[in-house]
């Protein structure tokens, strides 16, 4: 099948230490040969799985809670257009200025305009995946505004000039030795150490100064409550609270799917998110932001802006099956439990959102023409489906995307649909269909394979890929069809 050739690792070694890779298999090849990286991920994911399991000791309770989480998000999505209007109205009443952005480019422009209007030069940032989607730091940097990540993990990868490798724990691919080296290189006066407390203290020192001098803060949003216009933000380091309360100006960025209907929807989601994500009963900080500083109040920003980003989400929304993707609460449990992610790490996905959720989200947002191999980078083991706190049928959506890539739906639900089609693969499945839809042909074909299958050379694709680490399967001398008949089993 041509699939093997299409997805073979595209790795070019330039001989000068530079290696370029252009597809998932190629990046996986590099990651799989990086021993420390593999050890870091395996250890981290094992720990996260154990911690999550300890938080949900009762399978029945968990099933109920997941059903509730899924229902809350489904209910909100069903009314998304009107809830968004409600959120805008409530926020506006509360003094939060709401902006709409269809593309990441528009969102960046909006943020820049706000900052330039206020003469902002330095910004502290709480963790936000939507801002990663926008590549906001780089954009602001190009316009002379320095944005410093205040989440420890994000700060570390910002120093390293890397992308997050996990949506909750962005620097999970690094160990303390690597972080120690990074700090010694980048933080003035910091010696090399593997002492985690000392490293954390060093980052805190840098951060405290940044918080004090920042002209503005940026944050993401975990949940926005339409009923009250409240932005809910969970975090563990207090940096989210500092970023949203210390500077005089706060800009929050969120994807339009982060809405819930009422405040009563928040507790069940908070019961699911930290437990699924990091195995914590609750995060150290739960921030609820409803308005800027009011007259007589002693803290909080004078001005708050909320930027609502679409970036392809309404397109996903239009398709009822794909819409389930938008239930995601970004806990990362799917990647923590993914046997593929645990081995190749987040950077192999070459996307803002790695792991199982990334495999379904990236092709829908960026298009199958640029991410055609992601839906195939799964054994469909369903481990992600089993743990998803809002019950997203990730495996079914992976298969749906595989379908869109070879035979796009009439509605053209996904950009770049059809880009994975090849004549050789389509022909192979046509042949497969004929053989398996005609029992007589099937019995003749399998009979021939039983007799002569041993002659097929192991170097023939796709056997070549198979036999790289396994022996060639041995055809039995007689098929089960033949044996069943010989042993006198009835045919009808």
């Amino acid at each position: 099948m041509s699939a093997e050739l299409k997805t073979a690792a595209h790795v070019t070694n330039h001989g000068n230490g530079h290696v370029t890779v252009t597809n998932f298999a190629g990046r996986a090849h590099v990651a799989l040969n990086d021993k420390p990286l593999r050890a870091n991920f395996r250890r981290a994911m094992d720990g996260l799985m154990a911690k999550r399991a300890a938080q949900f000791p009762d399978a029945g309770d968990l099933a109920k809670l997941r059903a509730r989480g899924a229902a809350i998000k489904e209910r909100a999505l069903a009314r998304l257009p009107e809830l968004l209007e409600q959120l805008e109205a409530r926020c506006t009443e509360n003094g939060i200025k709401v902006h709409w952005a269809e593309t990441t480019g528009e969102a960046n422009r909006i943020v820049l305009d706000i900052f330039q209007g206020h003469g902002v030069r330095t910004v502290v940032k709480g963790k936000s995946m939507v801002s990663e989607e926008m590549h906001l730091n780089a954009f602001l940097g190009e316009h002379g505004i320095e944005a410093v990540e205040s989440d420890l993990g994000e700060y570390i990868i910002q120093l390293a000039g890397e992308m997050p490798s996990h949506i909750v724990m962005p620097c999970i691919h690094k160990n303390k030795m690597q972080i120690g080296q990074l700090f010694a290189e980048h933080i003035e006066g910091q010696r090399y150490t593997e002492d985690v407390d000392e490293l954390t203290a060093a980052a805190r020192r840098v951060m405290r100064a940044r918080f004090a001098e920042a002209d503005a803060g940026i944050s993401g949003v975990n949940f926005a409550v339409a009923e009250t216009g409240t932005l809910v933000l969970v975090e563990n380091e207090g940096n989210g609270r500092m970023s949203t309360t210390l500077p005089p100006l706060h800009v929050a960025v969120m994807g339009i799917e982060k809405l819930v209907e009422t405040m009563a929807d928040i507790p069940p989601l908070l019961a699911l998110l930290p437990r699924s994500a990091t195995g914590q009963p609750i995060t150290t900080y739960v921030n609820m932001i409803t308005s800027p500083r009011k007259p007589g109040e002693k803290d909080g920003p004078q001005e708050i802006h909320l930027v609502l980003l679409d970036n392809g989400r309404t397109r996903v929304y239009a398709d009822l099956e794909l819409r389930e993707t938008l239930r995601c609460i970004r806990c990362g449990a799917c990647m923590n439990h993914c046997p593929v992610y645990a081995r190749v790490g987040g950077h192999t996905y070459d996307a803002v959102y790695p792991g199982p959720i990334g495999k379904i989200l990236t092709p829908q947002i960026a298009g199958l023409d640029v991410a055609e191999d992601l839906p195939h980078a799964s054994s469909l083991c369903n481990a992600c489906v089993e743990v998803c706190p809002v019950k997203i049928p990730i495996a079914d959506i992976l298969v749906r995307l595989r379908r869109e890539s070879v035979r796009p739906s009439a509605s053209q639900a996904v950009k770049g649909g059809g880009s994975g089609w090849t004549l050789s693969e389509a022909s192979a499945w046509t042949g497969w269909k004929w053989l398996n839809a005609h029992p007589l042909l099937y019995r003749m074909g399998t009979g021939v394979l039983s007799a002569l299958g041993h002659l097929i050379p192991p170097s023939m694709p796709p056997l070549k890929a198979w036999t790289s680490v396994r022996t060639k399967p041995k055809f039995a001398a007689q098929t089960l069809h033949q044996l069943a008949r010989d042993k006198g089993f009835d045919d009808e």
């Binding site: 996986a28 469909l380 083991c381 497969w432 680490v469 089960l480 008949r485 045919d491």
Partner: protein, 254 residues
Amino acid sequence: MSTAASVPAERPSTVYFFGTCLVDLFYPEAGLAGMELLKREGLRVVFPQGQTCCGQPARNCGFFEEARTVVRAQFAAFPEPWPIIVPSGSCAGMMRVHYPQLFAGEPDQAQAEAFASRVYELSWFLVHVLDLKLEDKGEPVTVTWHASCHSMREMGITDEPKRLLRSLSNVTLVENPRERECCGFGGTFSVRQPEVSAAMVADKIASVEATGASEMVTGDCGCMMNISGAMEKAGTPMRSRHLAEFLLERGDVR
């Protein structure tokens, strides 16, 4: 996701056996053992010669029309309302969980749903419908169980196969702490992402070998082809067999 089967109101007297294409070509002795076990329990076992493949490979690759054509051939091959017993959690999951989805909105949707409701994974049927009791006649042996992802997460099979193994007095079952982790087979995944699949099966082998068992027993021949093929290539072969074969060889009806 998992659609746990329900026990039929009456113990059936006749059942169909769906062998699966993989068993048909590579492990017919596993299929035959499954049929013998059912027959030994007094059931009439019918093996339609018109059966071929459950359609999962094409469905999983997005070729739904081709899959449906092949599935319709199975509808034709299993016309009577008898239970359909499948010696694979993965193929059973395709038939039970995915047929209704695959035929949603098709003219034969009702037929797909009715067919799906008749599908049982072999070990589940042995435990819950036949209440199989075995007397161990084999030598003492230590085995480990390999659970397939689809048997666990689509068919909702958790303890049934291990319960059968534990019921054998001379069999010591050592469980694999990484039992729930995928072996890396995944059908075409193994050849589309061969290096990732290779890393997964290497870790699986290590965890299977670490149990110290002399034999690995499983209920899915896809996983077995992957794991035992990789063990053989690595030069550390351990005996591996389908549960049906293992039970038939060791257990006398009690």
